[in-house]
Each structure stands twice: as C-alpha cells, then as structure tokens.
C-alpha cells in the first residue's frame, strides 16, 4: 500500500498519497482552476506550476474564490 501523508485542505484534515502534487488535489476535487486562487502554507501559488508542486506532510492548502459580499 502507498504511504499516506496528512495535509490540511481549506481547514480540513485530509489523508493523501505521499507523492501527490497540488494538481492532483485540484483535479480530485474538481476545482475550476480559472475561478480560484491557491495558497500553500500562506504563500500564493502560481497556478501554472501546480503540476510540479509536491505536497509534504502537514502542508496547509487554501483554495479560495469570490462570493457576493461587501
């Protein structure tokens, strides 16, 4: 069995495969990439590079979008 690591995705603990990339997470959760911004450990991620970003244990990923509100 593949080794699992734990990350926090939008505040929720998730167990994912050890060699997952940020792109895998986006794909798995069907995130509309054009309409979101992604933060990895409080740093904004260049969406064009997510295929080459490997996630580590305890990484914090935030995926945000616009909602109505002023």
């Amino acid at each position: 069995m593949r080794k699992k690591i734990k990350i926090k995705l939008n505040g929720k603990l998730k167990a994912i495969n050890n060699n997952s990339t940020l792109f895998n997470i986006v794909q798995k959760n069907k995130i509309p990439l054009a309409k979101v911004a992604i933060e990895l450990n409080q740093e904004i991620v260049d969406k064009k590079k997510i295929k080459s970003i490997n996630l580590k244990n305890n990484d914090k990923v935030e995926i945000v979008h616009f909602i109505g509100g002023g």
Binding site: K30, I31, E39, H65, F66, G68, G69
Partner: protein, 231 residues
C-alpha cells in the same frame, strides 16, 4: 443568487463588491457567483470585508488579484466589532503597501477630511467615506464633512455604508459624490427589487440635481411670479 443578480440589474449598479472565501470542497455542486453575475458585464470589486488588521487585508487582496487578474480592489479594515468603524491607522498602512504593489485601491474610511487627504496622498484611487455605521441605515450623519471632502479631492468620492433609503442616496449625490455603495438598505428592504429600482432613480435624480445648481436658501419668501403688470 438569482435574486441578487436581479436586484443588481434593477439598481443599474456597475460595480459589485465580492469577498474572498474558501471553496466548498464537500459540496462541489454549489453554484458559483460567476455563474450568475458575469464579470465581463459587471465589474467585480474584491474587498476585505471581515478583516480586522492590515495583514489579513493584504492577504485577502493578494489572493483576490490571483483569482481575478485585476488590480482594482476595495480596502476595508475594521477596528471594532460592535460599531464596525474603520481602523484608520491600519487602513492607511495597507493603502501604502497595496499602492506600491500596483493595486488600485478604493478605500473605505471614516468621514474625516484629514484622513481622506492622507489616503489620497498614500495613493488611494477612490475615497469611500461612511455615511453612518455599516448596516445602520441612519443615512448621512455628517453632511458637512462629506462636503469638505468633496471640495478637497478630485478623486472619485463614493459613500460607502450607512444608507437606509433611496433619498439618502439622492442626498449623497447632491453633495457631489460620484456614487454610492449599498447592500443592506436594498437586501433587507421588505421589497428589495423595488428598493433597488428606487436607489437607481435616486442616484440619477441626485446627480442631475447636483449638476443643475440649486437655488440659494433664503430666510423669507420670494414671489415666483413677476411683479410687473400687477393690476
């Protein structure tokens, strides 16, 4: 969201403020704002509602720029959970940082002409003083200050927060403001769609009235019919 889109349409609003929030990972079918309000037709103005310090506000707007790809944003840093007044020291600091990073910053502020001037000097692209506390519906509390701010700045001046009814918007426009930002007064009216339309008409009427040059106020009556030829 459908109702929201209808109200925006009726009000004639050209800009809509949006907040940055987490995508709902568990419920992927939840509709997105962009499915109802087309960012190509209505300008999305990312704002920092709910931020209480400069750090949170900067983080939010940097993310917003990443989502939308545009630099026009609204800065709002609150200082007190009860009265929701802006924390102006943090607001000023954030304006300086954001301007340096290339943002065009529309700034929510109190109705203080001195602070409005400092924001302008810090690079704000629009001044957005409150009429009264957010959501209070009290209307413009300090007309004099708004008038002074209007006199001192050529930047767009937009009344943000505190309006309660359409006539408040007309007064704002008559004071020379360039626009109003309204949420609660429409969203929580008994008939929001009708109120949205009322605000549209009020803004147009107020602007026309401002541009028309009102008459002087006098203490006594002045007959409006000619005196010559009286029998």
């Amino acid at each position: 969201m459908q109702e929201c889109a209808k109200a925006i349409n009726l009000s004639g609003a050209e800009i809509v403020t949006v907040a940055v929030r987490r995508v709902n990972i568990t419920d992927k079918k939840k509709p997105l704002l962009m499915d109802y309000i087309d960012p190509k037709k209505i300008t999305y103005l990312p704002n920092t509602a709910g931020c209480f310090n400069s750090k949170e506000a900067l983080r939010t707007l940097r993310l917003a720029r990443e989502i939308g790809g545009w630099k026009l944003v609204k800065l709002e840093v609150l200082g007190d959970k009860k009265n929701l007044f802006p924390e102006m020291i943090e607001t000023l600091k954030s304006t300086e940082v954001l301007t340096k990073e290339g943002f065009k910053v529309m700034v929510y502020c109190n109705d203080d002409p001195l602070m409005a001037k400092r924001l302008e000097n810090a690079g704000a692209c629009a001044i957005m003083p409150l009429a009264a506390p957010i959501g209070s519906g009290l209307g413009i509390i300090n007309e004099i200050n708004i008038r002074i701010i209007r006199k001192q700045t050529k930047l767009p001046l937009i009344i943000d927060a505190g309006l309660g009814q359409a006539s408040d918007a007309a007064i704002a426009m008559e004071l020379g403001c360039d626009g109003v930002l309204v949420n609660t007064a429409i969203a929580k009216a008994k008939k929001p769609f009708q109120m949205a339309l009322a605000f549209k008409n009020a803004v147009i009427a107020g602007r026309q009235s401002y541009l028309s040059g009102r008459i002087k106020k006098t203490l006594y009556g002045n007959p409006s019919s000619p005196k010559s030829g009286i029998i």
